[in-house]
């Protein structure tokens, strides 16, 4: 089933990508087969036509197979009318019995600004609860808090174009090569064309490090020690912009004296950061020598119990040098979600009220008057982690979750699932039928329109508001989120305040609120957009805020001061000496870092639908330094149980020499809908930053224990196959169906017997049994087509998986191919294809190695020959690695 669209073949719609905070403009073009193809929008200032592999694969993620199409009450299909009544009655009952503080909204950086605005207004203004928070709390709340401490407002002072003019780009806690590939390519261009230097500060060497001039493998949590040292050295080496500091800032001395405590001497700094004095000096020298400096930071900074201090340690250095809001100079937070920024703007965080206004008396009064909402919430609400703890304690009785998957992503996710079952009223607005959160038995499930089906705006990391435009009709009875809440609000008697009939109307109100009694007092002012009519809104070009009714949009702020503090001065912040919230112990001696892989995003509800994105990293892996692995008795490819005080996962071990010692890494994406025993956020502790409330998701003490798997294997099927929850597995979307990769401590024969049943009554069967080797294979054909397969073997047979997936996608197999299916090898001794490297052009490692042997010497030559790496470029570091690996052999050949 695919979505309906009235567009003509060849016609296209400009919209904004569904994924990260770069906010690339894309064009969705209707194809002859009814599908869509995504290409970069050359006119969009975020990307100028470039897109990454995830964006390029958007057209593959539009199938409706797994969509939630109708409202459900207690799991049963219901009408919208019934569902709205149920929600309205439930909320009323909760209000009457427990008061507004027993209601909470948990929102998402993937909601559009208009959805966010209605949610925020409804909850805070009319239900009167302040407990409105969002998954952005897990993403960039520390940046928000850091901005507010330093600037008096949540303002990103700079723009992407500053990357083009910077002489020094510093990445802190960011694997931009994989997570923000389009911006990373822009940084690489600055390196290549202008000789800009790139410094990467991370606890592990990543693909980003391969494109950096200096990689600093810092110990977890110690970024602020390094930046405090830099701050001191800026002062000591007279690199400060004394005039800027004097005219536009305050708090220098206190912050500097605190920096002396945090970073007392080089020796201490070296020990705490794990860096050598040479490395530290090289970094300081670069910073002091190069005036035009952009520091980009991401989740490595934010997802930390000291995240806000890290942000301020960085901003302190920029304020001290006056490198802020200038061309080529400034701090630049890179957000992870398409509309985390939009959520911040409407006030979708518990410590904000609305439109960058907080809970000060005058702000509350102003918003209350604007909304005509006398019962408005008057104090800050609970932030995500605390909100769910309040649910656990039974204080919050009603929860509405929109467009996010807290059953996967929250710290202590296992216990959070239990907490959700205690709610009197649990509402989920969701596009997908099967997520870990929809499996937690919500009382009401409301089908939401998804990306591509709804209209609104998003704001990217550089404050640029762009339109997301629909190019398909919403399937079934799905509706946009703003409509869910508008209907409930109307049913609850707030019809006059919730009259919205289009996203444009909501946007106008949002823009009007930003300008309401503003007069330059608040950074967020988009008053110029408050009068857009439907046509103008539809045609809205990407625009940066602030864009007040009088004056032009601003690309940069604060170069001439003008901060949004009481005295309009920027604040130096005296930070605390950092320590991890929980330090390793003898029981939990390793530190677990978490993050993304290149081709997946969040809990894979969208990227998991694409066959192209599925093959770069097929399963969640636990990356370990070989020394740490050896100490735990683990070899590469072994399985390990990784365990914290809160949860456990079972993952395959991959060696990564780029990791610091005692530091391990696992991806965040996999969950019970896309795998088994693979949810790493279940391990995370609920330790939060004191200012931002953001949990420390990247430094959890864990222990690792080898699991002696008795068999490994894979299953291919046309339909989704239920898998036992105790089985370590990962689902991979493949052409024509799905593959499940698994490993088990059970006997191969019994596991095979069990899983064969899961394949159901397959057609013509063929089998192989080799009990002595523990090798059992089953395949089913329908005529000349492969219908299903189950291989249970002592060890995973990767070439067999490749070959079977390849065969599974064919409409017809030749006799020779069919004979080769059980063998798990293509006939005529075709070599294994190797892992997928370039997702854009489906180029595999073997092809790259072959081209290298035939004389392609560098990444450019590989690109010229195979096209690999010539689109989004995110695989270029990997291509370089393959070439480097082969280089000694090539040289030996040449010598011989």
């Amino acid at each position: 089933m695919s979505a309906g669209s009235n567009m003509a073949t060849g016609a296209s719609v400009k919209t904004t990508c569904a994924y990260c905070g770069v906010g690339c403009g894309i064009e969705m073009r209707k194809l002859g087969d009814g599908g869509f193809e995504a290409t970069g929008d050359p006119s969009h200032p975020a990307n100028f036509g470039r897109i990454c592999v995830k964006g390029a694969a958007l057209g593959e993620t539009l199938a409706l197979d797994r969509r939630l199409l109708f409202p459900r009450i207690h799991g049963q299909r219901a009408t919208w009318n019934q569902a709205i009544n149920y929600v309205a009655d439930g909320l009323k009952a909760t209000l009457e019995k427990y008061g507004p503080g027993a209601i909470a909204f948990y929102l998402s950086g993937q909601m559009l600004t208009e959805d966010y605005y209605v949610a925020n207004k409804f909850a805070k203004g009319f239900l009167g609860t302040p407990h409105v928070d969002t998954n952005s709390r897990l993403c960039m709340a520390s940046s928000v808090a850091g901005h507010r401490r330093a600037f008096g407002s949540d303002t990103v002072p700079n723009s992407y174009e500053d990357l083009d003019s910077a002489d020094l780009i510093i990445l802190v806690g960011s694997n931009a090569a994989w997570c923000h590939p389009v911006l990373f390519q822009r940084m690489q261009a600055a390196r290549d064309t202008r000789g800009a230097k790139l410094v990467n500060i991370d606890t592990r060497r990543t693909a980003t490090s391969d494109g950096a001039d200096l990689h600093l493998n810092i110990r977890p949590g110690m970024d602020s020690v390094l930046f405090s040292w830099l701050f001191r050295e800026i002062g000591a080496r007279a690199a400060m912009d004394a005039i800027y500091v004097a005219e536009h800032t305050s708090g220098l001395n206190e912050a500097l004296s605190r920096a002396r405590i945090v970073a007392p001497d080089m020796e201490t700094v070296a020990i705490r950061t794990g860096l050598s004095p040479q490395e530290i000096n090289a970094f300081v020298d670069l910073f002091i020598a190069r005036d035009r400096t952009v520091t980009c930071y991401s989740q490595g900074v934010n997802q930390s119990a000291q995240g806000t201090d890290k942000v301020n340690a960085i901003i302190n250095c920029h304020l001290a040098t006056g490198r802020i809001g200038k061309s080529g100079s400034g701090p630049l937070s890179l957000t992870g979600q398409p509309n985390a920024m939009g959520g911040r703007e409407v006030g979708g965080l518990a410590n904000m009220l609305a439109a960058h206004m907080g809970y000060g008396e005058s702000d509350v009064d102003r918003v209350s008057r604007f909304w005509n909402a006398p019962n408005i919430a008057r104090r800050e609400g609970l932030k995500a982690v605390q909100m769910f703890e309040a649910i656990e304690r039974g204080e919050i009785r009603a929860l509405w979750v929109m467009h996010t998957n807290p059953a996967v992503t929250l710290p202590r996710a296992d216990e959070m699932r239990d907490a959700l079952r205690k709610l009197d009223l649990f509402i989920v607005s969701e596009a997908m039928e099967e997520t870990d959160t929809t499996r937690c038995q919500p009382h009401v499930l409301l089908p939401a329109a998804a990306w591509g089906e709804k209209n609104g705006t998003v704001t990217n990391s550089e404050r640029r508001i762009s339109r997301q435009r629909a190019f398909m009709e919403a399937p079934g009875e799905a509706k946009p989120d703003w409509m869910h809440m508008t209907l409930v609000a109307q049913r609850m008697g707030f019809a006059e305040e919730f009259t919205y009939e289009s996203p444009a109307a909501i946007f106008r109100e949002h823009a009007a609120l930003s300008a309401f009694e503003n007069g330059g007092a608040r950074d967020f002012d988009i008053g110029a957009l408050a009068w857009l009519d439907e046509g103008e809104y539809e045609a809205l070009e990407p625009v940066q805020w602030p864009c007040p009714e009088q004056g032009e949009p601003q690309a940069r702020l604060f170069a001439q001061g003008g901060f949004f503090t009481g005295d309009r001065r920027g604040r130096f912040v005296a930070i605390e000496p950092p320590d991890l919230a929980q330090t390793p112990t003898s029981e939990f001696p390793l530190v677990l870092n978490t993050g993304r892989v290149r081709d997946h995003w969040h809990t894979m509800m969208r990227t998991g639908l694409s066959t192209r994105l599925a093959r770069h990293v097929e399963e969640p892996q636990l990356s370990m330094h070989p020394f740490d692995a050896a100490a735990a008795g683990l070899g590469e490819g072994d399985y390990a149980r990784i365990e914290s005080a809160h949860g456990a996962a079972t993952l395959r071990v991959a060696f990564d020499e780029g990791l610091g010692r005692s530091s391990v890494f696992a991806p965040i994406h996999w969950n019970d809908a896309t795998g088994g025993l693979a949810r790493v956020d279940a391990l995370a502790a609920p330790c939060t930053d004191p200012f931002s409330g953001q949990p420390e998701l990247k430094a959890t003490p864990v222990r690792v224990q080898r699991i002696a798997m008795r068999c490994e294997g894979f299953l291919l099927s046309r339909q989704r196959t239920e898998m036992p929850s105790w089985l370590a597995h990962a689902r991979v979307t493949i052409p024509g169906g799905e593959a499940v990769i698994f490993a088990s401590t059970r006997e191969a024969m019994s596991l095979h017997a069990l899983l064969v049943n899961h394949l159901g009554e397959a057609g013509e069967r063929a089998e192989l049994s080799d009990p002595a080797s523990g090798d059992f294979r089953f395949v089913a054909f329908d005529g000349k087509r492969l219908e299903g397969a189950l291989f249970v073997q002592p060890k995973r047979d990767a070439p067999a998986l490749d070959w079977l997936i390849d065969s599974f996608g064919k409409a017809e197999l030749s006799v020779g191919e069919r004979k080769a299916i059980l063998a798990g090898r293509a006939p005529a001794g075709l070599a294994g294809l190797g892992p997928l490297v370039c997702s854009c052009f489906a180029v595999r490692e073997t092809a790259i190695a072959d081209a290298a042997r035939e004389g392609a010497e560098d990444v450019e030559a590989i690109g010229a020959r195979l096209k690999a790496g010539t689109n989004c470029g995110s695989c270029r570091p990997e291509i370089r690695q393959i070439l480097n690996k082969l280089a000694p052999a090539r040289q030996a050949e040449l010598a011989a």
Binding site: A766, L768, S769, D770, P771, A772, L822, G829
Partner: protein, 411 residues
């Protein structure tokens, strides 16, 4: 010139003469005596002849002109009836006597005759020679109801051939599966299904109690008190070495004529090859060891040593569209690994029996292209450890793995 008398003109005999002519041209004066009127023919192809896949001329091994051209005296339709081992003289049915220096028994085997009431009734016959084929063709072409007793290789081929020619055939077998001496249960079941598709009804675990009829066979009765109406019976329940003449002559005979690794019988100057011989306690019933023995003996007489040391048996069923191959230890001996592959829709079955890094047996049904390759692995005792995981998938997949990659070999 030394005189050699070859008794019998079957496949072992002809191959022996060929090998001798090649190994020792002009050194022997050879006389071949055959009991059948036709010069030696390829008995293995009798089933193909019956099935109509070949013509009678096609199965003739050598024409009379060939014997003539090579100076070999051929006497047919005139069996040897006695031998004087001391005088080294053989007497033929026609009373002719032949003196010799060496005597080679290549008398083959006789079909086993079931000790059943009615076994001698008209319409009951074996499947052994051209005359049997002629008779079977006649009854098949009339669409008669025929039972073949014996579900071994020969019985299956007879049943298939009869069905091909139009007979209404029932194959009666006393065991629980066909070809139980070459196949395991799953492969035998596949074969049974394939036979059913060819129009042959198969009755298993049927023990014949009596062959019914007064002046001509008209049915079978079984020990389970069931019965079958029919007008022809083919008995194909096995063969026995044809060693009566040798025994009478005074040679040592157990099941067959006892020979050593050079094919020498118990009396100097006497030899035996093929189905009539018993080597190291084994009387082979297949052509391949017979050929090997023929070669051994020819070389021995030519003065070269090429001892026959026994042979792993391999069986090929020649029923078109149902290729079946079995070799070596095909069941599941203690301590052996069994790897089985089965593709039901394509009626393909493969089983490899592996012990100590060696392939010691295999069964192939449905696809026997690699049969000889497997047989070589078994006979040559090739170490298959490196190719083990691909072995069952056939030569294309496994052969490249048999030898370690170059890099490993250098190390």
């Amino acid at each position: 010139m030394r005189r050699i008398l070859v008794i019998g003109n079957g496949m072992a005999s002809v191959r022996f003469v060929e090998e001798l002519l090649r190994a020792a041209p002009g050194r022997f004066d050879v006389t071949v005596v055959g009991a059948e009127t036709s010069p030696g023919y390829n008995r293995v192809l009798l089933s193909a002849l019956l099935a109509g896949d070949v013509k009678q001329d096609d199965i003739l091994l050598r024409g009379r002109d060939w014997y003539e051209a090579n100076g070999v005296r051929l006497l047919t339709g005139d069996p040897v009836i006695s031998i004087d081992c001391e005088l080294k003289v053989a007497t033929l049915a026609s009373d002719e006597t032949i003196e010799f220096d060496h005597c080679v028994f290549a008398t083959g085997s006789n079909p086993i005759k079931l000790p059943l009431p009615g076994i001698d009734l008209p319409g009951v016959r074996a499947f052994r020679d051209l005359s049997d084929v002629d008779a079977m063709e006649v009854c098949a072409s009339k669409g008669e109801k025929v039972a073949v007793i014996g579900g071994g290789l020969l019985g299956i081929e007879a049943a298939y051939g009869l069905a091909r020619r139009g007979a209404d055939v029932t194959l009666v077998h006393v065991m629980d599966r066909l070809m139980e001496r070459q196949l395991d249960a799953p492969s035998a079941a596949l074969l049974r299904r394939a036979m059913a598709r060819k129009g042959v009804k198969v009755l298993l675990e049927k023990s014949t109690q009596a062959i019914l009829g007064d002046d001509h066979v008209c049915g079978l009765s079984f020990t389970d008190e069931s019965s079958l109406d029919l007008s022809q019976v083919i008995c194909a329940v096995g063969i026995r070495p044809n060693a009566a003449l040798a025994k009478t002559a005074g040679l040592d005979v157990n099941r067959g004529i006892v020979v050593d690794d050079a094919m020498r019988a118990s009396i100097d100057g006497f030899f035996a090859i093929g189905e009539c011989a018993e080597h190291r306690g084994v009387a082979y019933g297949l052509v391949e060891p017979a050929y090997a023995q023929a070669r051994t003996l020819a070389l021995h007489l030519a003065g070269a040593a090429a001892p026959f040391e026994g042979m792993v048996l391999a069986t090929n069923l020649k029923v078109s569209g149902v290729p079946v191959f079995s070799a070596g230890e095909f069941l599941e001996p203690e301590g052996a690994d069994i790897v089985v592959m089965q593709d039901r829709a394509n009626s393909i079955y493969r089983k490899c029996v592996i012990a100590n890094g060696l392939l010691i047996g295999c069964i192939l049904v449905g696809d026997t292209d690699d049969a000889l390759w497997y047989l070589d692995l078994i006979r040559a005792k090739t170490d298959i450890s490196l190719a083990r995981r691909m072995l069952v998938h056939g030569r294309a997949f496994a052969e490249p793995l048999l030898t370690p990659p170059l890099a490993d070999r250098a190390a």
